[in-house]
């Protein structure tokens, strides 16, 4: 029984327009395996798993399950064949209740005289939520009322209700905080003991090292390697993903946390509209990387939004010290050369259905204007320069952003503020869901900003990155500062987590 094959994919190819996402990929999953799928953004991990889960079809190639050909037309069919997936981006319906979300596409299960047996459906949903250990979410809650994390848990429930033999987890842990993570780990252990199979995509290599018993790596749509048993170490995974050895200092190398006394932003006693953050004050200095850490609902994201003028505050003021001007709106912030990289890249940072050039220049048109007109050659020059600086992987500036991988999209989101000559950067989860290659480039850039005397607020849910990059760390809990930690070699994750929970 032990080495029984769960699924075999042979010679899978997938093209998107001119992009070849998968090239003759072979993949196998055996019973009892937790297979970590790694690779840089755009390497084809999500494409492969979405084909297995029936989200999309392959351009060519075959799949076999239990010895028979397997070609699911959609996710529901795949689920019936015992393959379920928890997706990377939230795919829930906000305006209906939790139970309806769990069973969407399968309402016929609760058919009674041609009508929907709502009561039974609610009971069943409740049972599944209990089973996966999410007893604080209830079947009759409106999905839109749940926070981001709980919505992901509803997706987990959706994936689990038909008792899948193969569970695909796609980068979920980057979106899940502690609570959901524990839940996923419990699920993995349980499924493994039941001799089922799991495909796990994550950028957190430490996590994969502890959870997986096999690692498979994709690079540019090609399967490049397999790690098993003792070979599964972070040190082995990194070069496999990038295709070369990475240099030692991933984060900045120095431990000098001193910054100039010159204050750039003075946030004085601000209170958020919903009252969650009260009387909050902080000062940002020239050449400082100010890190904000905490659980995802600790209020740090809201601070970033208020400082940029995106969310309103009802008391206090935010003062741009060099100009003595107050920041009340996005326009104020931008005219004072501030830039904001949102956590929600696809909805708030980018126009997906527009070119790299259009996206890059969105905040810089004022600068390019000559007598009311914008010369096209100046546009192209500025945009191409940014592509070069960031080494964005693309055909040309005319390529549409929706064709780029996550990491390259994030580069474009950064480019927008570089092109606008921003001096103060508010970065909300700047490396969320991007791979180590691009991450390293981002850290490099942020450090360069610091050296150039720019000021950076870096809000992050990843503690190693905060500790690795910040001059000063503000740890938040329940809308308040619970600790302020200066840069030091001795700071550890565990220390900071104490202040977070």
């Amino acid at each position: 029984m032990e080495n029984e094959l769960l699924i075999r994919c042979t010679d899978i190819c997938k093209n998107f327009g001119a992009t070849r996402a998968l090239i003759n990929t072979n993949f196998e999953l055996y019973r009892g395996e937790v297979c970590g799928l790694i690779g840089e953004n755009g390497s084809g991990k999500s494409t492969l798993t979405s084909i297995i889960a029936g989200v999309q079809g392959a351009t060519s190639g075959e799949m076999f399950r239990n010895g028979a050909a397997y070609a699911p037309a959609n996710m529901v069919e795949a689920q019936k064949a015992g393959v379920a997936m928890i997706v990377q981006e939230a795919g829930t319906l906000p305006t209906v209740d939790v139970a309806s979300n769990i069973f969407v596409g399968n309402y016929e299960l609760f058919r009674k005289h041609g009508f929907l047996d709502k009561k039974r459906m609610l009971q069943e949903a409740e049972r599944i939520l209990q089973e996966i250990g999410a007893d604080d979410i209830h079947a009759d809650m409106m999905l839109g009322d749940l926070n981001f994390e709980d919505r992901k848990i509803v997706e987990i429930a959706r994936a689990m209700y038909l008792n899948p033999e193969i569970l695909i987890i796609d980068e979920s842990t980057t979106a899940l905080a502690q609570k959901g993570r524990q839940l996923i780990y419990r699920l993995i252990t349980k499924m493994r003991s039941e001799n089922k199979g799991i495909i796990f995509i994550s950028h957190d290599l430490e996590e994969l090292e502890t959870v997986c018993n096999r690692i498979t790596c994709l690079r540019d749509g090609v399967m490049v390697g397999n790690l098993e048993g003792d070979q599964i170490t972070v040190a082995n995974m990194r070069p496999l993903m990038v295709g070369r050895e990475l240099q030692g200092n991933y984060y900045r190398a120095d431990y000098d946390g001193t910054v100039s006394d010159e204050i750039v932003l003075d946030v004085r006693h601000i209170t958020s509209e919903n009252g969650y953050i009260r009387n909050f004050s902080i000062q940002l200095h020239k050449g400082e990387i100010l890190g904000f850490g905490g659980l995802s609902d600790c209020g740090m994201h809201e601070i970033g939004r208020m400082v940029f003028g995106l969310d309103r505050y009802i008391t206090g003021e935010i003062l741009h010290v060099p100009s003595q001007r107050k920041i009340k709106s996005i326009q104020d912030a931008i005219s004072l050369k501030m830039g904001y990289v949102s956590k929600d890249r696809d909805n708030e940072s980018l126009i997906l259905n527009a070119s790299i050039q259009d996206n890059t220049l969105m905040a810089a048109y004022k600068k390019l204007e000559r007598m009311g007109l914008i010369p096209p050659d100046a546009e192209k020059k500025l945009s191409d320069h940014q592509i070069e600086v960031m080494r964005t992987k693309c055909e040309s500036g005319e390529q549409y952003v929706n064709q780029l991988s996550g990491g390259n999209k994030q580069k474009v989101a950064f480019c927008k503020w570089l092109a606008a000559d921003s001096e103060i950067y508010i970065l909300d989860c700047p490396t969320r869901g991007i791979d180590i290659g691009v991450k390293a480039a981002m850290y490099d850039l942020i450090y360069r900003f610091k050296k150039e005397g720019k000021a950076i607020i870096m809000i992050s849910e990843e503690l190693p990155e905060l500790i690795g990059m910040s001059d000063r760390m503000i740890i938040m809990k329940d809308g308040e500062i619970s600790a302020e930690v200066m840069r030091d070699q001795s700071v550890t994750d565990t220390q900071l987590i104490e202040y977070m929970v």
Binding site: G17, A18, Y340, L350, I374
Partner: protein, 336 residues
Amino acid sequence: MLKLQVSGHSSPEDSEQIQNELMRRAKRNERITFLLPFAGVLALIVLFTTLTGGQFLSVDNLKLLLNQCFSMEIVVIGGAFLYAIGGLDMAIGSVMALSAMVITLLFNAGLSLALSILAGIAVSVGSMCITAFVRNYLKVSPFIASMCVMNICQGLVLTIVAKLGVITFAYSRAAWIDSTLTKILTLVIMALLGYVIFNYTRFGKSLRAIGGNERAARISGIKIEKCVFGAYSIMGFALAIASLFSVIRGGTADTSIGNGMNLNVMTAIVLGGFPLSGGANAKFHAPMIGALMVTILTNGLGLLGYANSMGYAIKGLLFVTVVALTYEKSKGKLIS
């Protein structure tokens, strides 16, 4: 130590060849999408010339064609701005009727032509800005708002006609406006101005950004409210100009002015390859080419002896077909 296992049997050269082939196909698709509307115009001309035994290309008919397409071309110049932000609007026709009414009443009362036109523009821009206001501050779908504006304008025109009877434009005092030269000049100037504003100004670029992703545009410092008012105002301006020429040509100011314009503009937008949701794919020339196609279709069908009513049916059918074929359903809602 590391077990490297490269799967896939294709050699690097093969791989490059496949990549090049895919690129070529993508480029070709892009070119086809660009050329398709032009090919459509040409095909229609050839079709109707053959079917009418050359009558379609006669000087008289070409003059008629200019007159027929003129108003719509002026309207779609404004329409490009409105539809760049995805501003599907049902009030276009009735705003035109109201504007024509204002111009005629004032001009007949002895006001100078320039002042009458200015008043027409004011009323037209004002009416369009009602929709912009509702969209910006009441957060109601502009489509719904435009329905209300349509009813308001129509109601006003009907009330005035009911009170004053038939209102005829004092044609003799401004006959020069109805000349081919004036029309061509007006069209060329407006098209050029529109082209420059649409493609080479911050405003024009901002509109397409709003159509693409309003939230991202706002966070990038684009003043959404101001731009929306701008787009609706330009549409209003174009409508007023078009209404002047329409009333002079038609003779009387009533609800027949602008009749069918809503569908015509939408059809023109779609036939020209302009996305109804706006965004970066919105090209300025597209609605103008589309308007030409719609007019040729109307004119040609007329020459062939099909009644106007049949023309509506055919245009309606064409609209649905083209939308179904071209609209990327995954990208979002048609009416937001």
